[in-house]
Amino acid sequence: MTKQQANWSPYDNNGGSCVAIAGADYCVMAADTRMSSGYNILTREYSKICKLADKAVMASSGFQADVNALQKQLAAKHLTYQHQHNKQMSCPAMAQLLSNTLYYKRFFPYYAFNVLGGLDSEGKGCVFTYDAVGSYERVGYSSQGSGSTLIMPFLDNQLKSPSPLLLPAQDAVTPLSESEAVDLVKTVFASATERDIYTGDKLEIVVLNAGGIHREYMELRKD
């Protein structure tokens, strides 16, 4: 018998970029709203940002069918959690849950590149960044998706503490104010849209702070 080889792939890449920045008392999450496949735009208004709990928001790029399945799985787990504990999940707890959910499919992964942002138990901004199979890390800022190679070096230049070897270890959060962080996010997306063909159309920005969750939009290039 001859060996058969699959000539199709269960995965697609729908592109898009996500950014998260944590501050002392806020967290800014941002993603563009373009969804594409190959050289085609599937829609110009697809939200990549999903509220998982009161203080945990996830932005995901990659294969949106997998992202959708992942969001559904997390929502179900979170509902169970609420029934058992009678409270919302904290952001660090959600971070661990997301890691476990991704690793559960280690050998047929969710093709999803996530950043999770929110506020921790002290009300401090927190950002967790992931790979597709659940490796994660708490950081001060992060970027994922098709434009991440353009965005991340700029964020590093603007936000990274002088040296990771400095003692005592510096706080993970960025020193920016909330409005400065939003301005930075708008700039990096306007810039990434100039050079990355999969990023564009509209920018969705979600800000979490003591006052709750606020959402705003900004137009991006549509070509």
Partner: protein, 236 residues
């Protein structure tokens, strides 16, 4: 079908219907007008019946690039030949030049052709030159992807000693039948009639062709209907 996977890098090929028929005074050549790259119709009104000399034409099928280069070379050689001979080249010479190129470069070429024309020695003649570079003199010849739908029809409908109009109507009918069944053939029907009096080219628009089994009447584009000021724009 995934429209994102439309392959525009694929070489141009003419999934084609081409026909050559002899009648009692000459020949009729016929072809559809579709040129496609994969599933995309790159040209919906192409002319696959190419002139080689005043009295010889060729119907091209297969790779567009290959058949164009072959017919360009043959035309060039025939022009030289005509000048040296001081009289028009015969259909046999033209067909043999096509065969020579097709046979000698069979590893490089993906093209089948039908050469047809009229000369004072042998009258109307049709030569089929299929893929490997064979040459066959035939009373009628069909070629291209659409021809597989036509063998039975020609066995039944072709008659010795048809008139010009009978032959042309047969060709138009056959091409329209093939267009109806073969997805790689389409567009309009072009015919070329060659006889002692010269050459006549005819053109049959796609919306004026006969309708066959289960084919629908052509109607206006949705855009025209929406732009018109009729009270019920969607009432087609």
């Amino acid at each position: 079908m995934d429209l994102g996977k439309v392959n525009l890098d694929a070489p141009h090929s003419m999934g084609t219907t081409i026909i050559g028929v002899t009648y009692n005074g000459g020949v009729v050549l016929g072809a559809d007008s579709r040129t496609s790259t994969g599933v995309y119709v790159a040209n919906r009104a192409s002319d696959k019946i190419t002139q080689l000399t005043d009295n010889v034409f060729v119907c091209r099928s297969g790779s567009a690039a290959d058949s164009q280069i072959v017919s360009d070379y043959v035309r060039y050689f025939l022009h030289q030949h005509t000048i040296q001979l001081g009289q028009p080249a015969t259909v046999k010479v033209a067909a043999n030049l096509v065969r020579l190129l097709a046979y000698n470069n069979k590893n490089m070429l993906q093209t089948g052709m039908i050469v047809g024309g009229w000369d004072k020695y042998e009258g109307g003649k049709i030569y089929g030159v299929p893929l490997g570079g064979t040459i066959i003199e035939q009373p009628f010849s069909i070629g291209g992807s659409g021809s597989s739908y036509l063998y039975g029809f020609f066995d039944q409908a072709w008659k010795e000693g048809m008139t010009k109009d009978e032959a042309e109507q047969l060709v138009v009918k056959a091409v329209s039948l093939a267009i109806a069944r073969d997805g790689a053939s389409g567009g309009v029907v072009r015919t070329v009639i060659i006889n002692s009096e010269g050459v006549t080219r005819n053109f049959y628009p796609g919306d004026k062709l006969p309708l066959w089994h289960e084919e629908l009447e052509p109607h206006n584009s949705l855009l025209d209907i929406l732009n018109s000021t009729s009270p019920e724009p969607m009432n087609i």
